[in-house]
């Protein structure tokens, strides 16, 4: 039971702090919560997906996709061989 005491004190510290917020403190927390909701529940979910994670299941597929994007039909190996 003694081990719970520090956690209780920490909980109490935060609980008291949030319970006794001043009016400006409350306004700020409302803004933070609305902002986090907009960021993570709206923007992230509906507008900003991680394309590679969404469209490809494995890292191998993702690397192949990016490799495809980074390369085209350019083929200048003969030039490379002559210069190396």
């Amino acid at each position: 039971m003694k081990i719970l005491t520090p956690f209780k004190r920490i909980f109490r510290f935060y609980f008291d702090g949030f319970s006794n917020l001043s009016s400006w403190g409350r306004s700020i927390w409302i803004i933070i919560l609305i902002k986090l909701f907009i960021l993570f529940a709206i923007i992230r979910v509906f507008f900003m997906p991680d394309i590679l994670k969404k469209d490809y299941k494995t890292d191998n597929e993702r690397s192949r996709h990016v490799l495809e994007n980074l390369t085209t039909s350019v083929s200048v190996t003969s030039e490379l061989n002559s210069k190396l």
């Binding site: 008291d16 001043s22 927390w29 991680d50 394309i51 980074l70 039909s73 083929s75 030039e79 190396l84």
Partner: protein, 520 residues
């Protein structure tokens, strides 16, 4: 790929990133700087026991709290954008961003969240000394958080300590310390945090001057001004020194950016620094008539860039057309070398797809060959676009942003010195002219700070990663219309946040130092 790229997609994706980064940066620098002054004020309170200093500490802490709360998590949108709009880039950078951003996340969460709570909730609940230590740790934690972001940014400006793995199409960290302690990262970190300190000092003086003009809280305002003016003056000196260090690094790793910053088209020995200038039209600039008007300080650019007043400084045309005498490759040659590097990667990809293990293994080894890396892969990003003009940044935007930043920066230094002088003579409350000017310097400090980032980012275009990945190859091929929608969404969200910040901040300032901390 390039033939089918939608250029409006690239432009909108860039505009969206610029918008979110600039809005995010409205909130960050004040946090970076003001925490140090709050810690200093609280230290004086703890040492003297004078309750006026506690009141002062709590007032500035409240303004810091408003700024921090509204700004917190605004940077996360940029991480979203990496995944949505810049997926090739986010994959290509590999674990380079992962490590610093993970450390930043842990540090921000544990240090800032824990100790900010003590800062605001801990008055009368923890000992004075413990509270003071928490305040200092918030200042240190906030600035160290910035370090990791800036290290990641510095790597994009000068990719060191990594190697490219063609198998995964990712860069892999080979030496964490090279990434962390790259000279670009060190200068960028010092320049950025000290510029935040200057901005915060201007903010504190501006707000305090407003109180003095209204003959309110005179004692508190004068004490704040003393702390802020000393802190601001010292920070200004460090901004100038770290700016000089940054210029030397730019000359080394991004010389074309330096040329754009100074509107230098034709390289010369003993190059002068343009203190003030008005650029001519693009046509005139390219035909050799660069400036309509300019005031130049002889040889200063050579000295600033290389520490030698007679050193050759390359101009935009030297990079475009090449300058064999100075060992500068033309952009055309870099394009050819970039194509060789991309061609090798294509060969590797095809060999792997065909199951030709012998060929794919031998080509994989080419990406570890130092000659290949130095001769070809170093210019990998040039292999995407054939137009040499594509590789030249926006000269007027870079030039004017750089000069606005420098002129304002030196202006702030003089301002701090003058304020300290008046303060030392006990004349400040009578110096109405300077007190009236002070609040108007606050927006100018933000303009200087934003200008610095415009120089850093616009000046290195078209690169997302210097010489390795241009924006055109980094962008995700999604519908440009979707990017326009999110651009508008972010513009509205951030504008509402900025208005909320300014209105809550103004209300808190008008109320003055009445209520302490974040609790009743």
């Amino acid at each position: 790929m390039i033939q089918s790229i939608d250029w409006s997609l690239v432009d909108w994706s860039r505009a969206q990133f610029a918008l979110t980064a600039m809005y995010h940066w409205l909130f960050v620098p004040l946090t970076l700087g003001i925490t140090w002054m709050i810690a200093m004020m609280e230290t004086i309170y703890v040492r003297t026991g004078d309750p006026e200093w506690k009141k002062l500490t709590q007032f500035w802490m409240k303004l810091f709290g408003i700024n921090f709360a509204i700004g917190v998590a605004t940077g996360i949108i940029m991480e979203f954008e990496f995944g949505t709009n810049w997926s090739n880039y986010s994959w290509f950078v590999g674990d380079i961003f992962g490590a610093p951003l993970a450390i930043e996340g842990i540090m921000a969460f544990f240090m800032e969240s824990t100790f900010i709570a003590i800062m605001f909730f801990g008055w009368n609940k923890v000992s004075k000394k413990f509270h003071l230590v928490s305040t200092w740790l918030v200042a240190i934690g906030a600035n160290l958080s910035a370090l990791w972001i800036l290290v990641a940014n510095a790597w994009m400006q000068s990719p060191v300590g990594t190697s490219f793995n063609p198998e995964t199409a990712r860069n892999e960290m080979t030496n964490f310390w090279d990434v962390l302690f790259s000279p670009v990262a060190i200068n960028k970190f010092l320049h950025t945090i000290t510029s935040g300190m200057v901005l915060a000092a201007i903010f504190v003086i501006g707000v305090s001057a407003w109180f003095l003009l209204r003959k309110r809280e005179t004692r508190l305002a004068l004490r704040s001004i003393t702390i802020a003016a000393i802190f601001g003056l010292l920070s200004s000196v460090f901004v100038a020194l770290s700016g000089d260090g940054s210029a030397k690094q730019i000359a080394k790793v991004q010389p074309l950016k330096l040329a754009a910053m100074e509107g230098l088209y034709d390289g010369t020995e003993g190059a002068g620094l343009v203190a003030i200038g008005i650029l001519n039209s693009k046509e005139k600039r390219e035909s050799g008539d660069v400036f309509a008007v300019k005031l130049e300080m002889p040889k200063l650019l050579s000295w600033m860039a290389y520490g030698d007043p007679d050193q050759f400084v390359a101009g935009i045309n030297d990079f475009k057309n090449g300058n064999p005498g100075q060992g500068i490759l033309s952009t055309g040659e870099k394009i050819q070398r970039g194509k060789v590097a991309r061609g090798t990667l294509t060969e590797y990809k095809n060999a792997r797809a065909a199951g030709n293990i012998v060929k794919s293994d031998s080509l994989k080894l080419v990406f570890k060959d130092q000659v290949f890396l130095d001769t070809y892969f170093k210019y990998f990003g040039y292999g995407f676009v054939d137009d040499v003009n594509y590789y030249i940044p926006n000269v007027p935007l870079t030039f004017y942003s750089f000069h606005i930043m420098v002129i304002l920066g030196f202006g702030f230094m003089v301002f701090f010195a003058l304020i300290l002088f008046f303060q030392a003579r006990g004349e400040l409350p009578q110096r109405k002219f300077w007190l009236r000017i002070a609040p108007w310097l606050i927006p100018l400090a933000y303009i200087a700070s934003q200008s610095g980032w415009i120089v850093a980012e616009v000046g290195r275009q078209p690169w997302t990663i210097q010489d390795l990945l241009p924006t055109v190859a980094a962008v995700t091929k999604i519908d440009a219309g979707a990017v326009m929608v999110t651009f508008a969404l972010f513009a509205v969200t951030f504008t509402v946040l900025a208005i909320a910040e300014v209105s809550i901040m103004l209300k808190a300032i008008k109320n003055g130092p009445k209520n302490h901390g974040g609790t009743k």
